[in-house]
């Protein structure tokens, strides 16, 4: 799957979450995603960036523009250096939260994109990869 463009955004503060949303929105607009798809992807990015910030003590987002004619897509990889998730299945469950939020972020993000993968182990940080195709 050829990656045409790549950029990295550091996630270290609330302001960076806003930056993540702006970058993702701009790329999605460049790829002519529909308004609904733009909004879905930006919202998923917002959830995952905040997870990386709040549960993962910060990290970064890798943004990749994918070309696979006739379709194109955006892949976002969120990597954090946090304690990791001990039970990914449980964490994906709606309503499960350890941080006082609604507990819908991870599962919600999955429903907002086409492809979704979590790699995590206790102590090894978390890596969430999402892809949205156009």
């Amino acid at each position: 799957m050829p990656v045409v463009k790549e950029e990295t955004v550091a996630i270290g503060s609330d302001a960076d979450v806003v930056l993540v949303r702006q970058r993702v929105r701009r790329r999605a607009q460049e790829l002519r995603f529909s308004l609904v798809d733009q909004t879905k992807l930006v919202t998923a990015a917002s959830e995952l960036a905040r997870n990386a910030l709040e549960h993962g003590r910060g990290g970064e987002m890798l943004l990749q523009v994918l070309e696979e004619p006739p379709r194109s897509g955006l892949r976002l990889v969120f990597v954090d250096r946090g304690p990791g998730i001990s039970n990914v299945e449980l964490a994906m469950k709606d309503g499960y939260t350890t941080g006082g939020g609604l507990g819908l972020g991870l599962g919600g993000a999955k429903r907002l994109v086409n492809e979704f993968a979590v790699e995590s182990a206790p102590g090894a940080g978390t890596r969430v990869t999402v892809t949205k195709w156009h």
Partner: protein, 283 residues
């Protein structure tokens, strides 16, 4: 290695006038923004710097954190502030200090030609000191900028959360921009105060201008609604665009019993109905 300056104060004393002339010439030549600063002003600043620099190095050695350097630091802060206000970049501002190196080192060389060790020591000490002073102007410059940004953020926070009265008993809160925790706090406080102040029964929260509604924003909204309800006011959330509506569904956010409307006009109509205000037929 910080050496005490032995020769520098003497050189400054003896060649003050010549140094000043050289330095000003140096700055006028290398200046990229010709005419941006008046020669008279520059001369004044340079002369003052030289005078204070001589005093400070005579009494305070090379440690710019000592109280003897107080007046000099103050001068640099003023220079930095006035140049910042005139649109100079931080490096242009720092050059005010750095440009003094060449004339000073030329003098040092002439004076200490016969004593290479002293020349090296003195040059090293002077360059360290001038670097620190130059960086200090940058630091001041940056602090001034940061102060401006903080002030603007605070102003925006207040600007962006107006609560307006639409009707007797109906308030509207048009929200614009990113809803982070700070903003939500301000929004909630202003809304609750306004509800008490006006005795309103309905508050319309319009999120047309909120670009992204994720779980955190939704949670903030629900808390605001719950707080308003405790104060005896019902909330209507309006301005939910189609893309946002679909996103909220995918996120599985339950807005519960909160009344939502597509736009502010519909929300206003619903509020009037709730208050039993008679409306003209056909509207």
């Amino acid at each position: 290695m910080a050496v005490n300056l032995i020769h520098l104060p003497r050189i400054l004393e003896r060649h003050g006038e010549a140094l000043l002339a050289d330095w000003i010439r140096e700055q006028l030549q290398s200046r990229s923004r010709t005419g941006a600063i008046k020669e008279g002003e520059l001369r004044e600043q340079c002369a003052e710097f030289l005078r204070l620099f001589r005093e400070a190095t005579t009494k305070g050695g090379v440690d710019m954190t000592r109280p003897e350097y107080g007046p000099l630091r103050e001068l640099l802060a003023n220079v930095s502030a006035s140049r910042g206000a005139q649109g100079f970049s931080p490096s242009e501002t720092a050059k005010f200090v750095f440009s003094f190196k060449r004339p000073l080192f030329m003098r040092l060389r002439e004076e200490l030609m016969r004593d290479p060790v002293a020349l090296a020591d003195e040059t090293w000490a002077a360059t360290e000191l001038l670097d620190e002073l130059g960086l200090y102007t940058t630091e001041v410059y940056q602090k001034a900028r940061e102060a401006v940004i903080v002030r603007q953020q605070e102003e925006m926070l207040e600007l962006s959360t107006p609560v307006v009265k639409l009707w007797d008993g109906i308030l509207a809160l048009p929200m614009i921009g990113t809803l982070d925790s700070n903003r939500t706090q301000v929004v909630m406080e202003t809304l609750l105060e306004k509800i008490v102040e006006t005795g309103s029964e309905v508050a319309i929260i319009d999120i047309t201008g909120v670009p992204t509604v994720d779980t955190l924003v939704a949670q903030h909204l629900m808390k605001t609604v719950a707080a308003a309800r405790l104060m005896g006011a019902e909330c209507i959330i309006s301005g939910i665009r189609p893309a946002i509506a679909q996103t909220i569904v995918h996120l599985a956010i339950d807005l519960g019993t909160v009344v939502t409307k597509a736009n502010l006009a519909d929300a206003f109509k619903a509020a009037l109905d709730k208050l039993g205000v008679a409306q003209l037929p056909g509207r």
